[in-house]
Symmetry: C2
Subunit: 340 residues, 2 copies
Amino acid sequence: MVEDRKLAVLRAIVEDYVATEEPVGSKALVERHGLGVSPATVRNDMAALEEEGFITQPHTSAGRVPTDKGYRLFVDRLTTVKPMSVAEKRAIATLLDGAVDLDDVVQRSVRLLSQLTRQVAVMQYPTLSASTVRHVELVALTPTRLLVVLILSTGRVEQRLVEVETPVGDEDLARLRSGLLHAAVGARLPDAANALHALDPGPDGPASATTAAVVIALVEAMSDHRSEERVVVGGTANLARYGDSFDTAVRPLLEALEEHVVLLKLLGEATGGGTVTVRIGHEGPYQELASTSVVATGYGPSEHALATLGIVGPTRMDYPGTMAAVRAVARYVSRILDEA
Amino acid sequence: MVEDRKLAVLRAIVEDYVATEEPVGSKALVERHGLGVSPATVRNDMAALEEEGFITQPHTSAGRVPTDKGYRLFVDRLTTVKPMSVAEKRAIATLLDGAVDLDDVVQRSVRLLSQLTRQVAVMQYPTLSASTVRHVELVALTPTRLLVVLILSTGRVEQRLVEVETPVGDEDLARLRSGLLHAAVGARLPDAANALHALDPGPDGPASATTAAVVIALVEAMSDHRSEERVVVGGTANLARYGDSFDTAVRPLLEALEEHVVLLKLLGEATGGGTVTVRIGHEGPYQELASTSVVATGYGPSEHALATLGIVGPTRMDYPGTMAAVRAVARYVSRILDEA
DNA sequence: GCTGGCACTCGTCAGTCCGGAGTGCCAGAG
DNA sequence: CTCTGGCACTCCGGACTGACGAGTGCCAGC
């Protein structure tokens, strides 16, 4: 009973603080939420909550503010799922359905997510390693210069130029091409890479060297980390709403947003199946970002999470709404990638 | 004589204000710069300069601050070319020489530029229309599904999938390929597009429809505006140095940086031949950005400007240094693209 | 045409003061 | 044991003030 009320108080504090951006006191609390007790009672509960580390006072005789721990409890136990409105769902669907290719899907998703949450949105490109090979093509630009093209199930196309020592004839090329196709098409990237390495290079000789060079280029394209690290950011203008705390919060965040490796670490491991990960303040890997939270989830066709998308914002944010938006966008993006 | 001193005073005001970020008074001026006259004399000059609209006072009895018009005069007539130091030149060269492909060149250039100038750097991808066709390739993924690959002199590769009604045979494909190559290779994009359109589709029939579809895809790839509009931004963390004026300056700028179309308009037309364009405050196309300046120049192999790069920053900036940095980076990037 | 001097203007800063919001604690009532 | 009303206390924030100093404009004199 008492425990229940304490939790209700915590929830009320979080909600009010998120809405008003000001420390919330006992009186305002009983007025604005219908808890049927007096301010004095609430004060006692608050003292207990502070004792347990869920809330804190900026200074003596100010209202209370949730701590990271408080937000954590709120997110874990006090959040009721807030479904998206029909209008929002329709907006998401129509906006994303208009996308023409992978780049466009990513671009639109980021914009959408930043608008829905009014936070900075971050989205990782579909990870190469989880996709399969749709096609491999070899083109002789000149007799000693080959263009290797790799087409993936995600619609991504990678190409590499390969210079070879000895001119390659048409029959050699055709043989190599069919070998590559046979080995790689339909396989997941890591498997395809293995299969390629195992390709019989034939008897020693010039053709063998060519095969080796092409295979190397292909494998490199498959494991190209720069593509895996590709991240798109949107809605940075929302940072302007941070208002105070420019140097302590906005600057490190801007720096992080430019370092894609850092960003990826921030987003964390992709979690599939509709689970949204929330990382609050100091829980993240970077001390400088102690006042920012990350709300992220995995996306990708079917169960398999291909990559991560989410938002970065102040710890003081509307977690239920943000989580719902992130989940909804991830779901729609997954569906679209599935169809393509 | 008197005119000369007035200009010297203006220059001193601009330099001091840029350095200190504080309105500069007559006394400080004579002390810090070796103009051999008394403060009173300087005050008279200042009054005249203010009359002419080059400087202004934030409030009565404060120091003077340059107006946009004052900066303009400073940039046009008072700027002595400040050459890059040897160390800086070497840093630029070594950093950019390590780039492995076009994406990397752009990425590194932006980072470099933002570090050199401590401003937000912006760089447009090489414009398609100014480059030439290096190679065209046709690949039949399936009999009715063709991959069209377009390789440009800038190293850019565009590809399109084309679905055709009737299966395409190998000989048809070879004939079409050689026709395309003949028409397009070596030509500038607009010319190539024209040549393609003029391709004789042969007698009416299934092959003709295929040709038409492929040509359409190629021309579309050539004039793909999304590629022309691609812009990379770096160094946004430098925005944190704006300090005050968050809503009035930083927010509109962040918004502009996300809208690539807006950004391109901001950069303006590419100017070749080492000419650096400076747009100060209200001279730009957007009122919201009245307190920001743009320093930009064209880059590209030889004389021909392919695209634009530059920086965006507060009107209160070190114009000579920034202009030198922009020019230097553009020059090195051009050289690298020339070699490739 | 330059300079020194002088009166004047104003923004800034430190200090002071006051109101209000909020707290903790305590005694008393269910 | 739990809740409540009351009370004294704390402390932030805004408003106000006065001294200070940087800077100006103007004028008379060289």
